[in-house]
């Protein structure tokens, strides 16, 4: 299921402001790719351009190519809504739908798209998704309770279950643990490790230990100064980035000299 993504010469704009400049990147299938860098360097913006969530913001636009499975996501006849069914996303703060139960949250992707599904099939999908998100055992007795009744870490895993229930090929995670306590963070990291056998995972993180723990490859973004666009400085195997980066700025960042 997992797919490879090739990004070439990608520029990302907010109105006339260029936020990210000429990114070239290959994201390997069935692996975890971490994006790190100081605040405001454009890593989250870049992540959101991978499933065309970027253009939800008024005035935002993109130039360049993001090719997945031989198809340019920004091709003229491509529906951004369809893209997002192939490339799922988990956000910084857990955002379960407050009016829906745990069950309905997981089924939301199917139901909101007006897909009719037999009750038994839907039950199965909900269970497998919750199992996939390591949440089934904790919630199986209270699937009818509101999603917001769960703890922060559980809510985030619920959001992951919701994202994988529509069976995307790629899963984007935008600092998924930054609002969580260390124990919940650990649970999510374990989950990421399991999920990579089925999905291509791209994760943005502020936490370099986390990048080192969970990812196979790491990309480092940086900006020269405020008002300048962010760039991909270096991308390599995680081990290499953290032990022997080829660019000075990367080394400075991961050793905590700035950012």
């Amino acid at each position: 299921m997992a797919k490879r993504i090739d990004v070439s010469d990608l520029d990302i704009f907010y109105g006339s402001f260029k936020a990210v400049e000429s990114v070239n990147m290959s994201i390997e299938p069935q692996s975890v790719t971490a994006l790190i860098g100081p605040s405001g360097c454009g890593k989250s913006t870049f992540l959101r351009s991978l499933n065309r969530m970027h253009e939800v913001i008024p005035g935002a636009s993109v130039a360049g190519k993001v090719v997945m499975d031989g198809q340019d996501l920004y091709g003229s006849d491509v529906d951004p809504v369809a893209v997002r069914r192939h490339v799922g996303m988990v956000f910084q703060r857990p955002n379960p739908f407050p009016t829906m139960s745990i069950y309905d949250n997981v089924a939301a992707g199917v139901r909101l798209n007006s897909g009719r599904m037999r009750k038994a099939t839907l039950d199965e999908l909900v269970e497998s998704s919750l199992r996939g998100a390591n949440l089934w055992e904790e919630v199986k007795d209270r699937l009818g309770r509101p999603g917001s009744s769960l703890s922060g870490g559980q809510q985030q895993r619920l959001c992951i279950a919701r994202a994988i229930a529509i069976k995307p090929e790629v899963l984007l995670m935008d600092e998924p643990c930054s609002a969580l306590d260390p124990i919940s963070t650990l649970a999510i990291e374990d989950l990421i490790y399991q999920l990579k056998s089925d999905f291509t995972i791209v994760i943005v993180t502020h936490n370099m230990q986390q990048a080192a723990r969970v990812s196979d490859r790491t990309g480092f973004f940086n900006i020269e100064g405020t008002g300048k666009p962010g760039r991909l400085i270096e991308m390599d195997a995680t081990q290499r980035i953290f032990s022997n980066p080829s660019v000075k700025a990367t080394e400075d960042y991961i050793t905590g000299r700035f950012g």
Binding site: M53, V56, R84, N95, P146, I166
Partner: protein
Amino acid sequence: MTSTTVTPPDRKRVQNSLTSGMLPRWVPPAIVAGILAVGLAAGLLFDVNLMLAAAFAVVGVGLVLTVVSRQVEGARRAKDRLVTVVVTSAFVLALLPLVSLLITVVQNGIERFDGEFLTQTMRGVLGEGGGAYHAIVGTLLITAAAAVISVPIGIMCAVYLVEYGRGRLARAVTLLVDVMTGIPSIVAGLFAFAMFAIFFGPSVRFGIGGAVALSVLMVPVVVRSSEEMLKLVPNELREASYALGVSKSRTVVKVVLRTAAAGIATGVTLAVARVIGETAPLLIIAGSTTRLNADLFEGRMSSLPIFTYYSYTIPGVPPEFGVDRAWAAALTLFVIVMLLNLVARAISRYFSLNSR
């Protein structure tokens, strides 16, 4: 060390630089109570007009408190005390009409607020008896029709403003919705009359015309309250839905509107409560009748506010029965409006508890 063993009563008398020059806390209430007692006694003994006595009491409290405070605390604190008295009495003054309204309406209306009043029409009734059944039905029908027209338009307009609107058009709509809330109700009635008179001639009177007029008044209220509720829906939920590959229209309907549903329902209920008591537009376009008319599209249709108005202005012979009916109708209207307000509060409370 011995000086620390001061007994509590003594400590009170020890002057502290932070409390020196302050009036003790019991003084202001004592002054208020004292003057009220004097005023009440004077009112009871000398048969003074109660309103006048109250006015003098307020002025008295302000004066005495300011003078005392000026002596003890200085001019600045005295002014502060005076303002407190003024501001508080402004609030109490605003409550007086509310209390007096309640008392007057209940006292005068309870007399005829009975089973006959709620179940009989005025058909063939000249003096005693009769009821407002036809007017209650008319009010409910016209208001329901107005809600059916206004709620979809109002909610969709709010959706436009929050989810789609950009630039000049959106700014113009926002401003004019606000301006529209200020349209006099009689003008709304004239508008409906002027429009329908073109097609049906100058003697046009029917319920649906009243509903159209009420809609002109109701739409902006629904837009405003729905807009506020839609703005409260966190953007994260919209993004969560988009990220599941859900289209914008479905996101708006199934996530945004659904999350805001309770708030919107509250706003709609309050909007209904606001227009259900409107009299002027119905006077123009719905007219009045003594019999039951349940057809919105044909013929004059009575309503509670109009019933109240005509029962008072054309009470019949002898007049006291008509006036009693007017008060009973006013009470009925008042009860309906209060019930709607309570329902609105209940909706918002019930759902805010549920979604937590």
